[in-house]
Symmetry: C2
Subunit: 246 residues, 2 copies
């Protein structure tokens, strides 16, 4: 059973989508919604906070909330594992290991995974695809304490995240992602069936457990015609806001 505030958030999303609250219109006041759903104002605030974070509505002190959009930009792509994300999009994730070998931890490996330099770590190069079409190259380095388990996985495993969770209870709880762009190298071009120097969207990420212990880090390169990232933002404060020129 989902929490009441989540149910209300879901109902509001549906109401917005079916244009009961059209884009540009104003949402009822918190107190009205509270009465309508038979909950306290705090619970309503939890619900609308979720929609605000999704960019569906905008909020300002003193003014009714405004409907900004009627859909999340490709909802549910929540930056989870590639396989989970693909499934949520109604597509099939594929993947296979191109190469897999132990190498001594480089200085960069040591820094990102909080390990000592020289420790043998599993380096895996995977190509992953949507409905069979390759869209992503992953170059992942695993911490020493998880390397053996990863090495034992079948080379065509569709969801490493899920398998590791099932087999060891490991949870990929947090991630830090740095996004930029790079030119495809010879290897990248070959694996993704592109020309060399084609632009690729790169995400370098470190994944950790609940308590912040690094599990893996990865250099992921996406075909930019197949995958992009979306983010909403709103101004936090009225610091810069000043109304009406004299």
């Amino acid at each position: 059973m989902a929490a009441r505030h989540e149910q209300i958030a879901a109902e509001l999303r549906r109401a917005i989508r079916r244009e009961e609250y059209p884009v540009g219109s104003r949402l009822p006041a918190e107190t009205e919604l509270a009465a309508q759903y038979g909950v306290s104002r705090g619970t309503v605030r939890q619900a609308v906070a979720a929609l605000t974070a999704e960019g569906l509505i905008g909020s300002r002190q003193g003014a009714r909330r405004v409907v900004l959009a009627d859909h999340r930009s490709q909802s549910f792509g929540e930056l989870r594992s590639f396989a989970q994300w693909a499934e949520a999009m109604g597509r099939t994730a594929t993947g296979h290991v191109v190469s897999q070998e132990y190498r001594p931890a480089t200085a960069e490996d040591a820094a990102r995974l909080h390990l000592d330099q020289g420790v043998p770590l599993l380096n895996v190069l995977r190509v992953r695809g949507l409905d069979g079409e390759p869209v992503l190259i992953e170059r992942t380095v695993y911490a020493d304490w998880i390397s053996p388990t990863v090495a034992a996985l079948p080379p065509d495993c569709a969801s490493v995240t899920q398998r590791l969770n099932e087999e060891t209870g490991l949870v990929f709880a947090h991630g830090e992602h740095v996004i930029d762009a790079v030119a495809a190298g010879a290897r990248d071009a070959d694996l993704l069936a592109l020309r060399r120097t084609s632009p690729l969207l790169r995400v370098r990420r470190v994944t950790t457990t609940h308590d912040g212990r690094p599990v893996e880090w990865s250099d992921d390169r996406y075909r930019p015609d197949a995958v992009s990232f979306t983010v909403h933002n709103s101004i936090a404060n009225n610091a810069l806001v000043r109304t009406t020129a004299g």
Copy 2:
């Protein structure tokens, strides 16, 4: 005077940075913090929610919060104007207009700005830099109702956002950003002093007022060696969304 929960959030950030709560350690319980700061549990929860969103701490039902990092990188949640962002990084934003002309709204312009096709809109091409070095090309199209004001700005205006706010009270309240990568065209390469086909980090964005009315949309291309973006995410808590083309 900042809200009490913001003061507490700020104190916790400082405490984490000075390693009173080192990375990997656990924060005191909510009730302890509440007693410590002389506030109710709800106020403490507002404060720690902010740190959670920033990726500084992790949260799970039943377990103490964990310190994940002692600093925060520039996050997408607070994507601001280029000038403000540069200032926050301690650098100086520069910029100048390369070309500026009215063109009839294309189908894409009309869709993104919610206007009719064919309406004359101001198209501006700007090069922007950090400390004088060019890092970004902006191709911006302004809605018809703001075009004249923008056209009248000085061509070397460092912060268009700020000038428009001062002169008309306009507030850039919301933004939606789609991030991918493209190869530099001949013009891009020339303006950024790069080779053609160099990879560029592209952000296509639509900016709106408080009530969701589009003000401008822009195709921004960054030199990936000069600018990248960082995003934190936790399981079931995500600002960033990954989307497929199409």
